[in-house]
């Protein structure tokens, strides 16, 4: 019996007997014991971590949930979003202009742009925020006087509200950083593109607008996503000038009731949520500018989930 079975199962299955393999071999999927083992370890760790999160009383999830949609917190979220959006617009528009100025052959434009970058990248945003907020200490009023006639005169403090101070204090440094991103994007476009465009008699501006910037966008967008997320979180610096963004609101609450950890979790959850929304936006933007590129944009898990949901809704 035993000898019969061994011939049945074919001696060729034994290791080291490769030469004896017949033409028709059984196909066995490549095994990955290492992958399985590591997945089990990691999943086990995740379960343990989830258990810790849920069972640790000090997180006080009931307090977290009671403050998650508190009107003050929601207002903080809106203020943060609003500030992020405007700061990004300022940073991106001004940054693009500065980048183009820096690449200009005009010595004056080029040097001014360089100086701007040097100054706004070199000073801490916190210092700039406090400076803009207290601009009235240096210039008490804004006035326009021509031939002894004052056209307008307005107190600096009226202009430099906490909101405006925060916009400048966060937007100007962002534009300085962003200009380098744009410049990198423009430099990444092959010089031949400029030559080809000028062969078609396009003006430098047309070349920039229709040929170079669209191609540069592919390089520009990923770091822009970084900057957007960074800006979202940097808005919390504006608390120093009394701007009531998310962290400010949350700290006002925990300084009163001393539920510090649960309220910081509330802020963290909101920041995570907003960051996720921004990453989804980044994916769609990348997809748009990847048209004509061979390198596909890999869809992040969260936006995959999101577009699946949208797809379900559409088909339903």
């Amino acid at each position: 019996m035993s000898s019969e079975r061994s011939t049945d199962l074919a001696p060729q299955m034994k290791p080291g007997n490769i030469a004896a393999l017949p033409e028709t071999r059984r196909v066995v999927a490549l095994r990955h014991p290492g992958r399985w083992a590591s997945a089990v370890v990691v999943i086990g760790f995740l379960l343990w971590f989830a258990n810790v999160l849920v069972t640790t009383e000090a997180f006080e999830w009931d307090v977290v949930s009671s403050y998650l949609f508190n009107p003050l917190v929601l207002n903080g979220v809106l203020q943060t979003l609003e500030m992020t959006a405007i700061v990004l617009v300022i940073g991106m528009v001004a940054g693009t202009i500065i980048a183009i100025m820096r690449l200009s052959p005009n010595v004056v434009l080029h040097s001014v742009a360089h100086f701007y970058q040097w100054f706004f990248r070199g000073t801490p945003p916190l210092v700039q925020l406090i400076f803009w907020f207290n601009l009235a200490s240096v210039f008490p009023r804004f006035e326009l006087t021509l031939f002894d006639h004052t056209f307008f005169s307005i107190s600096t403090n009226t202009i430099m509200t906490p909101f405006v101070s925060a916009l400048l204090g966060l937007g100007l440094p962002l534009s300085a950083y962003y200009s380098e991103i744009v410049r990198a994007g423009i430099l990444a476009v092959d010089e031949g593109q400029w030559e080809a465009a000028s062969a078609y008699a396009l003006t430098p501006f047309q070349t920039l607008r229709h040929i170079v910037l669209p191609q540069a966008m592919r390089v520009i967008i990923p770091p822009t996503g970084n900057e957007a997320i960074g800006t979202l979180k940097f808005t919390s610096l504006a608390t120093i000038v009394s701007f009531t963004e998310l962290l400010h609101t949350v700290s006002t609450i925990y300084n009163t009731n001393f539920q510090t950890i649960p309220l910081l979790i509330v802020a963290a959850l909101w920041y995570l949520f907003l960051t996720s929304v921004l990453s989804i936006g980044q994916y769609f933007l990348e997809q748009r500018f990847a048209k004509g590129s061979k390198r596909a944009v890999k869809q992040p898990l969260i936006s995959k989930f999101w577009s699946n949901v949208l797809g379900q809704v559409k088909t339903a």
Binding site: N75, L81, I240, S242, S251, T252, Y254, N255, F258, T260
Partner: protein, 296 residues
């Protein structure tokens, strides 16, 4: 998107309304709204505007903090509302971070600042301070007082205080006193806001915090006894008078506020607010200006 913008605009309106709306109501104090009580001279600019802009770090219960709806609350807020009531003007409160207060008062962004800022010689160089409080120091520790801190022997203890606070300044005096008597030096860690400070105390990151009595009592209530105030006051540290901050030389407004307080003292309103909040023992009545009696 449009909806979102509208919503955010509404929310912004709502907040500015809550922050400013409280000005129209002078609390429990009945006072003429359109004009000042007799004997009070209001600076013409404020009279014209009909409103005083008052700053304060609004995260310091029970003095001043934002209630659940975001409205400034607290007994110092009540005092300020009563003063504005006597002056016959509206009051608008602005929540300002501690380090931003003094520059914002100096350059006239706000008319005056709440906050029991210690009246120190350094501060008097840049602002005027109308002193109305001189709270003693008490000692806040964890509920079980695990380090056995004794308010009468504070040398060698590790403290946690807010940056720039009266307590941080008091610590320097304590350290000097310990050094003079050859006792072990106390240590100090500095924090940005009361929430993180008290969290760190609960985490055993330091042994004790000097506190002023109402804030200590409030912390004990809010933490349900996880943090307590030790019985007994600290007698070894001298306390600076502290109070409201005005731009250097803003005599007109200082006079108006002093006269309004004078009027509130005379009819007992001032003392009542202080007494209801267990603060009468720590009040300077009548308030002094830059530690000297006022001449208004």
């Amino acid at each position: 998107m449009k909806y979102l913008r509208k919503l955010s605009a509404l929310a912004v309106l709502a907040v500015s309304a809550t922050l400013s709306g409280c000005g129209s109501d002078a609390g429990s104090v009945s006072a003429p709204k359109a004009q000042a009580a007799p004997g009070i001279e209001i600076p013409s600019a404020i009279k014209q505007a009909g409103v005083v802009n008052v700053a304060g770090y609004m995260a310091f219960p029970p003095y001043r903090y934002l209630d659940a709806s975001g409205k400034p609350t607290g007994f110092e807020i009540d005092l300020a509302k009563a003063v504005a009531g006597r002056m016959g003007v509206k009051i608008e409160f602005h929540s300002v971070e501690f380090p931003a207060i003094i520059p914002a008062i100096s350059n006239g962004r706000y008319d005056w600042s709440l906050g029991t800022l210690s009246d120190t010689e350094e501060r008097r160089k840049v602002v005027d301070i109308l002193d109305w409080a001189r709270p003693a120091y008490v000692v806040q520790v964890q509920g079980s007082n695990p380090h056995g801190v004794d308010p009468s022997h504070l040398c060698g203890v590790t403290f946690g205080h807010l940056q720039g606070s009266a307590q941080a300044a008091a610590f320097d005096l304590l350290a000097a006193d310990c050094a003079k008597h050859g006792e072990p030096a106390p240590k100090q860690i500095l924090f940005q806001d009361p929430g993180t400070q008290m969290q760190a105390l609960q985490n055993n990151r330091f042994d004790a915090a000097l506190q002023n009595p109402p804030a200590g009592a409030q912390t004990q209530r809010e933490t349900k006894g996880a943090l307590i105030v030790l019985p007994g006051k600290v007698s070894t540290i001298p306390v600076d008078p502290s109070g409201w901050v005005f731009a250097k030389g803003n005599v007109e407004l200082e006079r108006a506020v002093s006269q309004a307080i004078q009027s509130l003292i005379q009819d007992g309103t001032w003392a009542k607010i202080l007494k209801d909040n267990d603060f009468l023992d720590y009040a300077i009545v009548p308030p002094t200006l830059n530690t000297k009696p006022t001449t208004f």
